[in-house]
Amino acid sequence: MSLKVEIITPEAIAYASGDSPIEEVVLPGLNGELGILEGHLPLMTTLRSGRVVIRHKDGKATRFAIHGGFAQIMPAEVNILTDEAESADAIDPDRARAALEAAEKKLQEEMGRDHVEDDAAKLHRAALDRARARLFVAEEDKNS
């Protein structure tokens, strides 16, 4: 028996490991990254914006940037439910970097205006997190 992984979004199944045996899944948990191996205790956890790394038994790795959602973990199965999942090879690093810089600037402006963290600032921060996750995944995938 081996671990099965699926990434499910509201509009489609973004990834299904199918018959390819999985060694480990790394998830962006609320309090840091979680590495899940086969035989994990049943766990349900919410997720941040961040990277998902699926390490196959043959040494290859599949990477995704996901934005929020949660994961349902069972001993032989990991289901990741997220509003948005982007596979590493679908991300353009240059565009991701530009988006990150734009998001950083917007947040700076917002914070400069008043020091209270209002809804607009929260939105910008979320955009920043997404951009950061996207760029991180794209670069890591290129360098691996």
Binding site: P10, P42, L43, M44, T45, F70, Q72, D83
Partner: protein, 293 residues
């Protein structure tokens, strides 16, 4: 006897109409396939959310989260009804039957709620709003014209959740056409909020032992809104597929009617032509006889 030229003209008009209706049928069929595909692709997420909500719901009571809090229907309160209509016409009884269903819902619940507000999505609901003049209507035209995206469903769902949590509404319903097949749609009015009895008692044992991070209440905070988002998304997907199915059937009927009409007009045309020839022959022969006479 009808004029030959007039009949010819009518045949041409009907043929042109037939071309249009049959083209519209083809387009609707293609769009229907895409819409059906979208429903299929959205299904796994919906099933998972159902499963997870049910696992969490089996372990909690209705006080655990504001979205679960039941209001007694007998106590009145304000209700909101979301109505999904289409933006374009020529789709048979798609909108009319749904709006009739909505009317009967309003009559049936006229005394149940203190007030019933409406949120109408789609252009075709507008004329109906004008006619029945209910109060408190929000109108969203052209929302789904480019197809359904989860982002739109999420936005609408967030608005509904907001309205429910801040006490503006005590009940939220959604009226839409459920997609059964290309030729059948079912008009439904479903309750969105408060979330009804979720969770079945026999959720499997390994889930009972599951660890929740960060705690069950915080997970409910994340998952219950998703549950509503999924319901709205599914209703939208169903509505769009039903619209295309309904349009395809309507256009198919129109094309067949045009075909029958052309056949009967052609028959009429040939009869008229034959009659004219006979008349001419009679005139010629009788003219000739008269000369011989």
């Amino acid at each position: 006897m009808a004029n030959l030229k007039d009949i010819r003209k009518r045949i041409r008009t009907v043929k042109n109409t037939q071309k249009i209706t049959s083209a519209m049928k083809m387009v609707a069929a293609a769009k229907l396939n895409r819409a059906k595909d979208a429903i299929t692709r959205a299904r796994p997420y919906g099933q998972k959310i159902d499963e997870v909500t049910s696992q969490l719901g089996a372990l909690v009571d209705e006080d655990a989260h504001p979205l679960l809090r039941q209001h007694d229907e007998a106590e009145g309160g304000t209700a909101l009804l979301v109505v999904l209509t289409s933006d374009r016409g020529l789709c048979g009884g798609f909108n009319a039957t749904l709006l009739r269903r909505v009317d009967s819902f309003r009559k049936h619940h006229a005394k149940t709620f203190d007030a019933l507000h409406l949120k109408v999505i789609g252009k075709k609901g507008r004329d109906w709003i004008r006619r029945s003049e209910p109060e408190h209507v929000k109108y969203h035209p052209d929302l789904l014209i480019g197809g359904v995206s989860f982002a739109i469903a999420k936005e609408i769902a967030q608005e509904l959740i907001q309205g429910f949590t801040d006490g503006t509404y005590d009940h939220v319903y959604i009226a839409y056409n459920e997609f059964k097949s290309a030729i059948t749609q079912e008009q439904r009015v479903d309750r969105l909020l408060p979330i009804g009895q979720v969770g079945d008692e026999d959720a499997s044992d390994d889930n009972r032992e599951a660890i929740f991070e960060p705690g069950r209440d915080a997970l409910l905070e994340v998952i219950l809104p998703k549950y509503i988002e999924v319901l709205v998304h599914q209703a939208m997907l169903d509505s769009v597929a039903s619209e295309q199915g309904s349009r395809m059937t309507a256009m198919d009927n129109a094309t067949n009617n045009a075909k029958d009409m052309i056949a009967s007009l052609t028959l009429k045309y040939n009869r008229a032509r034959q009659a004219a020839i006979t008349r001419e022959l009679v005139e010629i022969t009788s003219g000739a006889e008269a000369l011989h006479g």
